[in-house]
């Protein structure tokens, strides 16, 4: 039996739970949930549908007092997870009472790009909540399925870890300030021979045309192509307003996705700017927020005085399947 991580919180406590197999998962999460329910704390679990079912079964009638959300939907773009927690904390938090959450954003079939953004998300949770109201967030990591480098990074992005059943401070935690430092993990190389368009204030129309045209050519449907062009327009607008007045844009296809990259001479030093829900004030920023809501993934990097933003849009799988006449679908499944 894993001992409950902590009895109470006097500040935000971000803790990784290393588990292997179903029973370690249950032993690490169910007492944590029950402890919260006993204390009358709101509890939100954001997990896969399969794990939600496991927890519902283990919790029996207590499950009715827990909020559940599907991580594959909430965290499809990992930048949408912090706003979901923000919403939970704002909506259900009451002074003098903690809240509890369980969130597992990383699973073994995440793509390399998604994984990097999930890891950035885990770091940014400390920035988003580290100075705010007290609550507990437990992040399960499946040590049997995930690479050891992923577990190592979890030790750096969480202040506490539950490992082998006991909870302790992580000596590798990088600290809140470093968690919010500009992100410079390398991006995957751009394929050779991609045309680059340089734009200024009067040329955003050409940016939108380029994005739309390339998107349609590789098979993105019209509405996704329009959304990608809109998101690219907002990122390019940031280049004009904050990034030195100009930038470059490139679009290419990679592994079933359209990727649009905007580069400029700006430095992106507001780590939560793309995931803070816009306020009612018309002047509050909305461009990057919009891009995160419309696109499947955003990658924002600052390297040596240059900022790169990549917008990813998944191709419609039906378009991607390339059904051939005569019933053969071009993919040889008869192995």
């Amino acid at each position: 039996m894993i001992e409950p991580s902590t009895a109470r919180a006097d500040r935000f406590r971000h803790e990784a739970l290393f588990y292997s197999g179903r029973s370690e998962f249950i032993n690490g999460t169910v007492p944590f949930i029950r402890e919260g329910l006993t204390a009358g704390e709101p509890v939100l679990v954001v997990e896969s549908l399969e794990k939600i079912q496991t927890l519902r079964t283990a919790l029996e009638e207590d499950a009715d007092r827990v909020f559940f959300a599907d991580m594959s939907a909430v965290g499809a773009n990992p930048a949408r997870i912090i706003p979901a927690w923000q919403d939970f904390v704002t909506r259900y938090g009451v002074p003098g009472k903690s809240l509890r959450g369980i969130g597992e954003p990383i699973w073994s079939t995440r793509t390399a790009d998604e994984l990097a953004e999930c890891q950035r998300h885990e770091s940014l949770l400390n920035v988003a909540f580290g100075h705010g109201r007290p609550w507990l967030l437990l992040c399960p990591y499946d040590t049997a399925a995930l690479d050891s480098a992923v577990i190592d990074e979890a030790r750096r992005s969480h202040e506490f870890v539950v490992d082998g059943g006991s909870s302790r401070e992580s000596e590798h935690f990088r600290g809140i300030e470093a968690c919010g430092a500009p992100f410079s993990v390398p991006l995957r190389p751009t394929p050779a021979g991609i045309d680059e368009l340089t734009f200024e204030r009067d040329g955003l129309r050409h940016v939108r045309e380029l994005v739309r045209k390339h998107s349609i050519v590789v098979g993105l449907d019209q509405s996704k192509a329009d959304n990608l062009a809109l998101a690219a327009n907002e990122v390019a607008t940031n280049s004009i307003v904050h990034g030195g007045g100009r930038g470059t844009v490139r679009v290419w296809e990679d592994a079933g996705r359209v990727i649009c990259e905007v580069r400029d001479r700006g430095v992106f030093d507001l780590p939560l700017a793309d995931r803070e829900a816009p306020g009612p004030d018309p002047s509050s920023p909305r461009g990057l927020w919009l891009a995160n809501q419309l696109c499947d993934l955003l990658q924002i990097r600052t390297f040596h005085g240059e900022t790169a933003v990549r917008l990813h849009m998944r191709l419609d799988p039906r378009v991607n399947l390339r059904v051939l006449p005569g019933g053969s679908n071009g993919v040889d499944l008869a192995h």
Binding site: R201, R208, T237, A277, G287, L290, Q293
Partner: protein, 110 residues
């Protein structure tokens, strides 16, 4: 009233108001906002036909929202023919319910 290479602002007869046609982005937002502000008649709630706006970015919507807020609480900005792309931006950016901005169904030529 205002025109550049990819946008015009003009008057409409029925209902009396203004129409924008073309694309609004950071290059012309300020000019569009100025011409709308100058073009709205005093007194009545102004009608604004957006049905021929083929693109409007966040800066453009911010300008429309600011105009509506300037008119509120005594007057409303009556918007006709909101294209789906603008609706997306309004919804996603949390501007769906705004004081002073109203989708008009007065049966004018929209």
């Amino acid at each position: 009233m205002f025109a550049d290479n990819h946008l015009v602002v003009m008057r409409t007869a029925r209902p009396g108001g203004l129409m924008v046609a073309g694309e609004i982005d950071i290059s012309n937002t300020a000019s569009v906002a100025d011409s709308l502000r100058d073009g709205f008649e005093d007194g009545a709630d102004p009608h604004l036909d957006l049905s021929r706006v083929s693109f409007c970015d966040v800066s453009g919507i911010r300008a429309l929202v600011s105009l509506a807020l300037e008119l509120a609480p005594n007057r409303r900005l009556l918007v006709h023919g909101l294209p789906p792309q603008l609706e997306t931006v309004l919804k996603v950016t949390g501007w769906a319910d705004l004081p002073g901005l109203e989708l008009c169904s007065c049966g004018g030529d929209d």
